[in-house]
Symmetry: C2
Amino acid sequence: MSELQLRDALDSLKGTGVRITPQRHAILEYLVGAMSHPTADEIYKALEGKFPNMSVATVYNNLRVFREVGLVKELTYGDSSSRFDFVTTDHYHAICEDCGKIVDFHYPGLDEVEHLASHVTGFKVNNHRMEVYGTCRDCEAKAGAH
Amino acid sequence: MSELQLRDALDSLKGTGVRITPQRHAILEYLVGAMSHPTADEIYKALEGKFPNMSVATVYNNLRVFREVGLVKELTYGDSSSRFDFVTTDHYHAICEDCGKIVDFHYPGLDEVEHLASHVTGFKVNNHRMEVYGTCRDCEAKAGAH
DNA sequence: TACACTATTTATAAAGATTATAAAGTAAGA
DNA sequence: TCTTACTTTATAATCTTTATAAATAGTGTA
């Protein structure tokens, strides 16, 4: 399962022309296996045994690369440092109000909303629904050309 | 409208025993009137004309005070600095799947979802919809007694 | 109104997270 | 194997936020 996710991630990287270095492999592996959402520093410390010479910058650089490719989400809670989360297949929908097109997007953070809602309202919360409404790129372009 | 919000905020502060200084007044006034969600530094710069000697620490200290009292929400998007938002009456709904009861709850953080959705999908996002589903306390109690 | 007490502001330094830079190293295709 | 461009490393720099201590100023009370 994690194996498969890791392989998919590596393939996905290859597909976008990003080189696969041992450091990148290790960071991805760690993220896939991590139960929590680690900070850059936690990842750095976790891999320091395997890569005694690895620089913190390498961790940051690669987390950014992974984020840009869509493999990883950066979560900013209130605390001082960002947390990073391997993207799974949960997703929400963005809906175009002009043409009705529906586009998937991923967002890992809404469990927090369920928690807070439960806390505030006293409900036993089972699930939630969320959609984003707007104009898709095509319709926006048409409207712009008018 | 903003006037009233500001007065309410000041009263609320008095009620909790927080002193009202000219700096606090000005920061609150700025937050109430701000269309955007300013960063601490933006607030600092905006008030530097009125308070040439004000320290950045004062802005941070007071934003923390306001947050602790519940007047202000701290928003952490992906970018480097926190943004601060005067708490208004926007709210979401928790819906009981047994009896249909609807309870309001507040949650200030979903702008972040709009941002991310917009970035990922290319949509120009206008708004979103979110609801939480579950069982209210009454129905939960009844079911428990069954 | 004046006083006293304590919270607050200011100025500065310090801490912590993240990014920039340049030289050395290495993945990947030809 | 060779070459090229991308990566890593080490380090410094930047930026945001917090800590500290002395000076200042609100607020309740006499």
